[in-house]
């Protein structure tokens, strides 16, 4: 991967890649693996980008697909890997080197990690201020569904943060 490609085509979107990868991992080591794999896959798939959508949508889509694939692989390899139903105390055990310095953000991430895989993707894109239509394009559904889903997720997160 040339550094030019990384600087011009990936780095501007590194923020969302980092945020997504963090939502699907529970340790710094996994996070780094996921981030690097996403970058590699974006670079490898660049020839397939036909310009039907924006480059950013393409990047989000690849990032999400890679995260979901790696998560599935990891789940298959290790039954104890964090899943939607993993107890909170188990998440905390693995998170010591994976935390932000901002405590409310850590709590929010903990709550996000307890969501289902797709809900995680939806809320991450919503928090990145993507329109419902764009989220729908990335996830592969329609905008109405996304609106309803975002509201449900927000209620869940609020409950988790307050509780």
């Amino acid at each position: 991967m040339s550094s030019d490609f990384y600087n011009t085509s990936i780095l501007p979107f590194a923020g969302i890649i980092i945020k997504l990868c963090r939502a699907y991992t529970n340790s710094q080591e996994d996070f780094e693996d996921y981030y690097q794999e996403v970058c590699l896959q974006i670079w490898r798939s660049k020839e397939n980008f036909r310009g039907d959508s924006e480059w950013s949508t393409w990047v989000y889509r690849i990032s999400l697909n890679v995260c979901l694939t790696l998560l599935k692989k990891k789940k298959n390899n290790n039954q104890h890997f964090v899943s939607d139903s993993l107890p909170a105390e188990e998440i905390e055990e693995t998170e010591n080197n994976h935390a932000f310095s901002d405590e409310p953000l850590n709590l929010l991430y903990d709550a996000i990690r307890k969501l289902s895989e797709i809900d995680r993707a939806v809320i991450m894109l919503y928090l990145e201020e993507k329109s419902y239509q764009k989220i729908a394009d990335i996830i592969g559904t329609n905008a109405n569904n996304i609106g309803v889903r975002v509201n449900r997720i927000k209620v869940k997160l609020k409950k988790a943060l307050d509780g």
């Binding site: 991967m1 040339s2 990384y6 780095l11 590194a14 923020g15 890649i17 980092i18 945020k19 996070f31 780094e32 693996d33 981030y35 690097q36 794999e37 970058c39 590699l40 932000f100 310095s101 901002d102 409310p104 953000l105 709590l107 929010l108 928090l127 927000k154 997160l157 609020k158 943060l161 307050d162």
Partner: protein, 218 residues
Amino acid sequence: MDKSIENIWKEGFLKSDALIAPKLNNLYTRKSIHIIDKFKRMFKINLIAIVAFSFIFLIVSFLVGIPIMGIIFFVTLTVLVIINKRLLNGLERLDKGVNCYEYLKAFNQWIKMQVSVNRRMSTFLYPIIFVSMILGFWFKDAKGLPLGERLVHKILLSFPDIYLIFGIPLIGFVIVVFILVLLAFFGGRIYQWDLNLIYGRVFKKLEELMADIESLNN
């Protein structure tokens, strides 16, 4: 919690440590180790499978009355396993202290050497296996006579003027020699096909990884 999740999100990521991208090179080191470890595992399993098969076949060959075939099979495959085990020991000696590209290159060279040794052996291996099959069935007991001799007697009854060489019909001899030459000629290719069938995906990944790293270095 008073703040909305939108505000927690925005404010949290204003801090400088929140969005630090990891370095990219580590991935290749992990991937190379993973690929090479996978190959080693597959290679070991393959050798164990050959040993197990040759043992089982040796026993079965005695039970069904073709011990010559079983013994030749066993000896040939044992030699094959010993040589490949020695090659595998060479793989274990590769210097893991070098960077991942150098490690992959060393592994690639080892693969080439391993393939070349096995290709040469295949020139003999497949003909030997074929000969073992012929001898095995030739000397199989068939009502007090070796099966081969019984077959020759039957042929002689139908074609009494057939030309024999060492007690074998010339035509049969020619066919066997022709098949042996073919097997010796195509042995290397059969091995290559077999190799790609088992390790093809690993080799492809290895090539992709090396191309990625070369591209990264450029």
